[in-house]
């Protein structure tokens, strides 16, 4: 428990440092904040006034403290381009991204773990070769390209599924599958090698000698010991899913955090960039934390 507690404390400190880093990265950037809001013909004096209005004339540290103060009270500022309140944007975008990311993580483990187990149990047969080659290919295929092919095939040509936007259950299928492709491939590999590693262990031999059925040995004991690397992978996957969700959301027009962040960068909408990138860092850091807690709980040697 002590390990877990110290992990939580250090995570909180890391988050504080991350917020400062994101804040500084954006404040020190060369871009002109006023460009997002004002026409090219605006005078220098007007631009100066606008900077003053949003508090950019203050020292950086003071700006940071003001920002964090407002942040804690729930005031996240407004978008420079649409003037919408970021707090109300956030609720909708986070919900959409959670739907997409959650379904993708679910697909990854529901498909990846069983496929990896099958490959391990049927090792060195054509089934194993097929699954393994498929997973090598799955890791190499760029997901934005996969997305285009999927749209071309299932939306434009076959008209089975919508190509994007947000129209209920059907429109999440394609983006979630595309986002899962690489994760499935990676999970298959990890599951397969973890299972193979464990099948050769002494405890399996002992269980066999004690007369347990093969099925029970594989599904109960081998799978359980193979869960460690799979769990720690799950947490690390969060970072990857978050990263590539930026790309996948943009392609499918899925109105989530990734899409709004990419658009904000292209339009230099700084308050929006600041909040949503910080949000992603929090999610990834928490993912890492959960992975390490899960790892500790699942590994009796670390539990004290």
């Amino acid at each position: 428990m002590k390990i877990i507690f110290s992990r939580i404390v250090s995570t909180l400190l890391l988050l504080l440092a991350s917020s400062l880093a994101v804040f500084a990265a954006i404040r020190f950037s060369g871009g002109d904040v006023t460009a997002a809001r004002m026409p090219a013909s605006a005078s220098a004096a007007d631009r100066e006034l606008f900077r003053k209005q949003i508090g950019l004339d203050q020292p950086i540290l003071k700006q940071y403290i003001t920002y964090m103060g407002n942040f804690v009270t729930g005031d996240l500022g407004n978008s420079l381009t649409s003037n919408a309140r970021i707090s109300s944007l956030a609720v909708e975008k986070i919900r959409n991204s959670l739907i997409l990311g959650g379904s993708s993580l679910l697909i990854v483990f529901l498909v990846g773990v069983p496929l990896g187990m099958i490959a391990a149990l049927r090792r060195n047969t054509w089934v194993d070769t097929g699954i393994t080659s498929f997973s090598v290919a799955g890791m190499a295929v760029p997901n934005f390209w996969l997305a285009l092919i999927a749209i071309h095939l299932f939306a434009s040509t076959l008209h089975w599924l919508p190509s994007g936007g947000q129209g209920g259950f059907k429109s999440v299928i394609l983006p979630a599958l595309v986002l899962s492709a690489e994760g499935i491939a990676l999970t298959v590999r990890i599951t397969r090698s973890a299972m193979l590693e464990n099948i050769g262990q002494d405890f399996v031999r002992t269980l066999r000698a004690s007369g347990f059925s093969e099925r029970r040995i594989y599904f109960k004991h081998v799978l359980r010991s193979s869960l460690l690397p799979i769990i720690s992978l799950a947490g690390l996957r969060v970072g990857q899913v978050v990263g590539y969700a930026l790309v996948v959301e943009t392609i499918f027009g899925w109105p989530g955090v990734g899409q709004i962040l990419v658009n904000a960068v292209l339009r230099r909408d700084y308050p929006v960039i600041q909040f949503f990138s910080l949000l992603l860092v929090v999610v990834v850091t928490l993912g890492n934390l959960l992975a390490s807690i899960g790892y500790t709980l699942a590994n009796p040697r670390l539990r004290k």
Partner: protein, 283 residues
């Protein structure tokens, strides 16, 4: 020599190396053979492959896709390989020092490393693009930073394990300098891991450059990055899907070749690395 013989028998390593050689040749010699990639002819746009002298067809502006693809390969290779070389050298050095010297130095390094590790690669690139503007530079900085940290983490872990082994303790008792122990005793032992990891990070570099150029934050026109070519072609999928499929397949083959080399190297050098490498390469 035994290693060389085993390498020749390793199917993944052989097929990956053949693919990689073809790709590198295309990237080095191709731009020089296939003529000007900026040549436009609006009357000859959207041509499918093998028509009117266009080997792989033409894009919306009537530019030769083949000529653009080989330049794209060159850009991709330059970005991915140069970044990986820097990341491997710096990351290994940082990991060696942190893992061997331990104490306050290690705590400081680990703090920074854990801090950067909390940022997903694509987000670092997006932030870099937000602060210095879109282009290849933020991509290079982001991939370099994140991969350096990733390599430093793995190397540190390996060195921590090795530094209590008899041969290191003996070297220390023998009065060898820290520098000598690091370079002559520890470095050769972690080289297999680093070599295998670096092939995966070349793959990460290729994918990251392509993805960022695809969303418009990476290479800017008229520079023909592969990701950006896929993006430009996406509006004409029904008209001539080759404009997107050709660069997409090229990215796929490039990543596939380095992944195969990585898998092959891993099996060749140390099969025990399997899980460790897979966990590390999941960033």
């Amino acid at each position: 020599m035994n290693l060389l013989r085993r390498a020749r028998k390793n199917k993944q390593l052989v097929s990956g190396s053949i693919l990689a050689t073809v790709i590198v040749l295309l990237g080095v010699v191709g731009p020089w053979l296939l003529g000007d990639y900026t040549d436009q002819d609006l009357l000859l746009g959207h041509l499918p492959p093998m028509t009117s002298g266009y080997l792989l067809g033409s894009d919306a502006l009537g530019r030769d896709i083949a000529a653009r693809v080989v330049v794209g390969i060159r850009i991709s290779l330059i970005v991915a390989i140069s970044v990986t070389v820097i990341a491997v050298v710096v990351g290994t050095a940082i990991g060696l020092v942190a893992g061997y010297i331990k104490g306050a130095v290690d705590s400081m390094i680990s703090l920074v490393v854990d801090f950067i590790w909390g940022f997903p690669l694509i987000l670092v690139a997006v932030l870099a693009a937000a602060s210095i503007g879109s282009g290849l530079l933020p991509v290079i900085l982001a991939v370099g930073l994140v991969n350096t940290v990733a390599i430093a983490r793995v190397v540190r872990g390996e060195v921590l394990g090795l530094s209590e082994k008899e041969f290191v303790v003996a070297a220390r008792a023998g009065g060898y300098s820290t520098m000598r122990i690091l370079t002559r005793h520890l470095l050769p032992n972690i080289m297999p891991v680093v070599l295998v990891l670096s092939s995966y990070y070349v793959a990460v570099g290729i994918i990251a450059e392509a993805s960022l150029s695809f969303v418009g934050l990476g290479a800017q026109p008229p520079l023909p990055s592969l990701g950006q070519m896929v993006s430009e072609g996406r509006n004409y999928m029904r008209l001539n899907h080759w404009e997107s499929t050709v660069p997409g397949i090229v990215i796929f083959v490039m990543v596939l070749s380095v992944s195969l080399i990585g898998d092959g190297l891993r099996d060749l050098l140390d099969p025990r690395l399997r899980t460790a490498v897979e966990r590390a390469s999941s960033k």
